[in-house]
């Protein structure tokens, strides 16, 4: 790095005593050059190094979840090979393709920004935006299909809805229902799980929320008579389902959910780029934001490229 930076220093013309004065020739020439940088190259290199460091933090941010995945999978390999069948490989595959294409359009956007091709840049950014939106739409269909089939995290995974109305009510309270239900079934060992000290260590008491009557009904249903043929959920009727299968979906939602949040953030920053590109901010001298968002977008894609095989292609 020190070599790179000294190379930058070497390019600085007339550096020296002029430093102290607020506006050198470089500052007069480039309006975007911040006062504490000497040259546009120095400013660009700093921004790029900062972005790479931020991407390093992103890798570690996701990294802990990948470790969690590895721990759970090594502990319950049968759960992962079984539950992976419930994921839709076609949809996941299409999504992978969509994201890779959007990475291509993003890279082309950087290319056109460097060459000052404003219209081409704007088109590429819109295409990238469309890719991101398309990914989320497909993801929405995947998620909603799974939630309808009760392929969710936590104890709700094992609670069959008696009828459509009940299921809808349960879904309507999405964030609350699993929690309260969990409280009610806290001491009931989850289907097939050996009761490991369940009486000693209890799961979440659901914090401040109380137990709503409807949720209590659900939990009673769960603990009551389970009649396999009355259940629409394939996994509940399947005697071959290994214990702790809910954990696969817990880590699936955690990782793809966090990735989805990153896609949303990506759409926001790409939207800001579109605004600035339309205004004409970018050209051969200054395209730093396009470059940095490009790097971010590639890492979001890269995370998905790891997630796809790890969840969809392991059976």
């Amino acid at each position: 790095m020190s070599h790179a930076s000294s190379a930058v220093e070497g390019q600085r013309p007339g550096h020296g005593d002029a430093h102290g004065h607020a506006h050198s020739a470089e500052h007069a020439k480039y309006s975007f050059l911040a006062h504490h940088f000497e040259t546009p190259a120095q400013q660009f290199d700093s921004a790029k190094l900062g972005m790479w460091l931020f991407l390093a933090t992103e890798v570690l941010f996701f990294g802990a979840l990948f470790v969690g995945y590895a721990v759970l999978r090594s502990r319950f390999p049968e759960v992962f090979s079984y539950a992976s069948h419930y994921l839709d490989t076609v949809m996941g595959g299409i999504n992978t393709g969509v994201l890779i294409l959007s990475s291509l359009t993003m890279a082309l956007g950087v290319y056109f920004a460097q060459r000052g091709k404003k219209l081409a840049l704007i088109i590429c950014l819109w295409l990238t935006m469309a890719g991101a939106a398309g990914f989320l739409v497909i993801k929405y269909f995947e998620y909603s299909h799974k939630i309808h089939a009760h392929l969710v995290w936590g104890p709700t995974f094992y609670i069959p809805p008696h009828d459509e109305a009940n299921a809808a009510a349960n879904l309507g309270q999405a964030p609350v229902a699993p929690t309260t239900a969990a409280a009610a079934v806290a001491v009931v060992p989850i289907a097939g799980t050996p009761a490991v000290d369940a009486s000693v260590i209890r799961p979440a008491n659901a914090g401040p929320a109380g137990i709503s009557p409807s949720a209590a009904d659900h939990s009673l249903a769960a603990t009551g008579d389970i009649i396999p043929h009355e259940m629409p959920e394939a996994h509940l009727a399947d005697p071959a389902m290994p214990p702790n299968t809910h954990l696969f979906f817990a880590i699936y939602y955690a990782m793809t959910g966090l990735h989805g949040i990153h896609v949303v953030i990506g759409m926001v920053v790409i939207g800001m780029l579109i605004y600035r590109a339309t205004r004409g901010d970018f050209g051969p001298n200054y395209y730093t934001p396009v470059d940095l968002v490009g790097l971010y977008w590639h890492i979001v894609d890269l995370v998905w490229i790891f997630l796809f095989p790890l969840f969809y292609l392991i059976h």
């Binding site: 790095m1 020190s2 930058v8 550096h15 020296g16 005593d17 430093h19 102290g20 911040a34 006062h35 504490h36 940088f37 120095q42 290199d45 700093s46 190094l49 900062g50 460091l53 931020f54 390093a56 933090t57 992103e58 570690l60 941010f61 996701f62 990294g63 802990a64 979840l65 470790v67 969690g68 759970l72 502990r75 995290w153 936590g154 104890p155 964030p175 699993p178 929690t179 806290a186 060992p189 989850i190 799980t193 009761a195 490991v196 000290d197 260590i201 209890r202 799961p203 979440a204 008491n205 914090g207 401040p208 214990p243 702790n244 954990l247 817990a250 880590i251 939602y253 955690a254 966090l258």
Partner: protein
């Protein structure tokens, strides 16, 4: 004294009547929206010292409760909240941001010879993230507090009924990002904003320490962030990843937590070590011994910090093989730490020691860090740790390191750079008296806790056997003495703002760049780009009677181009 007509920019810069960063603009918004690293540093300083007061009050409350076995003045649940709040506030709001974000922000660009950090807006954003995190933490107090301990161990943290757990988790999550962005900013600044002549091995050792710290901040903190996210999701949505009744693994939480929180211990101590390197060399007026060894040892500590976290979990049921490996690597941390300590002591040897307040803190650091570091070896030893784990011995050990070392270094650095930051000199005698009080109080408080711990007193307990009471009483008295010392320090520093005499540009005789700009510095730090030399070569630093301060006479600087070779041979001699 020789008078030299060579360029003496430093003298031009010392005109205290000129414009400086404090008077550059006025009004609340000129501070709240400032992008000036110096003002952001000062705002951090005020915020961190305010939190230090709050955390200190909780410390005094919990020590008071421990005066007698059983109830002294609060019930057990309140006591649990006291020690939790003391720990969480001191760790996340005080020590982690204290040196890098407060002092580092002020000093780093000036020491480097730059006009600002690489990303000034990000710097301000970090500060407001800190404020946001602090507000969440205070909010958690309003909604019932939390009693999980600062470690938030599962399953207790997912089942406790105290209402403030989720707000404080969010607060710490936000504080983590504040810390990440500060670290990121510093790394880029040191890589990209070094002026001509400022090579890596001409940087003051404080910058090496901040750089190493920043590496840890950037690489470790995201893991804490995702862990806290998982904990929030676990508590609200019951996903079960940390819940053993659902097939999850609470020990996984401990691994994740300590993967951050052990490196975080070095986020606290490494910048403190950097300050000590400056204080010892400047106030002993002697070239730092083994410059490269101290610089590399900071980086080495940063590297080691990532592979020792398992020593917090020797009793968690971790495999014997892992325990052995973690124990071995933990011992290795002693090597770079000892390299530093030996080099500081050798720097003092035959130095011209000025017993100023910063130097007193520096000497206190050497003493306390040696105790804190060596007792760390007891805890890293597998068989002894089984006995000492979760006792007051561990409490005493990490207070010697986190408070006796990191915070003492921070207060020492505050005294060292106070004239630079405020342009005022404090009363030296009062500051030294306060330092002595803190030192005595500290040892009274925590040395007794080594005894308590080795005799089996568990940490975090509300009640205890009557036989422990003598130690507890001494410890509490020590805490009060320390409090008096810190109040004296505060009075001394505040008094200097009101009636302290004006500080010269270079009151201590330092040779690094921050002593070559005015006190307080100009808005853009330097009037002229300063000449970069060996920042530990004190030969050209001479006392100027007229200015009542030191000046750097580069004409006396005969070996400047070979400065780094000189220090290298010192280092070589050490090995």
């Amino acid at each position: 004294m020789t008078t030299i007509e060579a360029p003496r920019h430093d003298i031009l810069d010392t005109t205290a009547t000129g414009d400086n960063y404090l008077t550059h603009s006025r009004g609340f918004l000129s501070w709240a929206l400032t992008l000036d690293h110096k003002r952001i540093g000062v705002m951090y300083l005020v915020a961190v010292l305010g939190s230090f007061l709050l955390g200190g009050v909780f410390a005094l409350l919990l020590r008071t409760e421990l005066l007698t076995p059983g109830r002294t003045f609060v019930d057990a649940d309140t006591y649990n909240q006291f020690f939790t709040l003391h720990g969480a506030i001191m760790v996340f709001l005080v020590i982690i941001p204290s040196i890098p974000a407060a002092l580092g922000n002020f000093v780093l660009p000036i020491m480097l010879g730059a006009k600002d950090v690489a990303f000034p807006r990000l710097n301000l954003a970090s500060f407001y993230l800190w404020i946001g995190g602090a507000l969440f933490t205070l909010y958690s107090l309003a909604v019932g507090g939390f009693d999980t301990g600062w470690t938030f161990y599962t399953p207790y943290s997912t089942t406790t009924t105290t209402g403030g757990v989720i707000p404080v988790l969010m607060g710490v999550f936000i504080l983590g990002f504040s810390s990440i962005f500060t670290g990121l900013n510093f790394i880029v600044t040191i890589h990209k904003l070094r002026p001509p002549g400022m090579t890596w091995f001409r940087m003051p050792l404080f910058l090496w320490a901040l750089y190493s710290t920043a590496l840890i901040q950037v690489l470790a903190t995201p893991v804490l962030a995702i862990t806290l996210c998982l904990l929030i999701v676990e508590r609200t949505l019951n996903i079960g990843i940390f819940n053993p009744t659902m097939g999850g693994d609470p020990v996984l939480y401990q691994h994740f937590f300590w993967f951050y929180s052990h490196p975080a211990v070095y986020i606290m101590i490494v910048p403190g070590m950097g300050i000590i390197s400056e204080i010892i060399a400047v106030h002993a007026h002697r070239h730092i011994f083994g410059y490269r060894f101290i610089a590399y040892s900071s980086v080495a500590i940063a590297m080691f910090s990532f592979i020792v976290w398992g020593h917090h979990m020797f009793t968690s049921g971790q495999s014997g093989l892992m325990n052995t490996i973690f124990s071995l690597i933990s011992f290795s941390v002693a090597i770079p730490s000892a390299v530093k300590t030996f080099n500081w002591v050798v720097t003092l040897y035959k130095g011209t020691i000025s017993l100023t307040a910063p130097m007193m803190y520096g000497l206190a650091f050497l003493f306390l860090f040696t105790i804190g570091g060596l007792t760390g070896l007891h805890c890293a030893t597998l068989a002894t740790d089984v006995h000492l784990h979760d006792t007051y011995f561990v409490v005493a050990h990490f207070h010697y390191v986190m408070m006796g070392s990191a915070l003492i270094a921070m207060i020492g650095g505050l005294h060292h750079w106070w004239p630079k930051m405020t342009g005022r000199m404090y009363h030296e005698g009062t500051a030294i008296a306060a330092c002595v009080l803190v030192f005595i109080g500290f040892n009274l408080t925590f040395f007794t806790q080594f005894m308590l711990g080795s005799q089996g007193m568990p940490r975090r307990y509300y009640d205890y056997q009557p036989e422990f009471q003598t130690y507890h009483v001494i410890s509490t008295i020590g805490a009060y003495v320390m409090a008096v010392g810190f109040v004296t320090t505060a009075v001394c520093l505040i008094q200097s703002l009101i009636s302290g005499k004006r500080a010269p540009a270079n009151p201590w005789g330092g040779a690094s760049l921050e002593w070559q700009c005015a006190s307080p510095p100009r808005h853009d730090n330097f009037e002229h780009q300063p000449t970069v030399g060996d920042c530990y070569n004190f030969a050209p630093v001479v006392w100027d009677e007229k200015l009542q301060g030191y000046v750097v006479d580069r004409a006396l600087d005969t070996d400047m181009p070979h400065a780094s070779h000189g220090s290298h041979s010192h280092g070589g001699g050490h090995s």
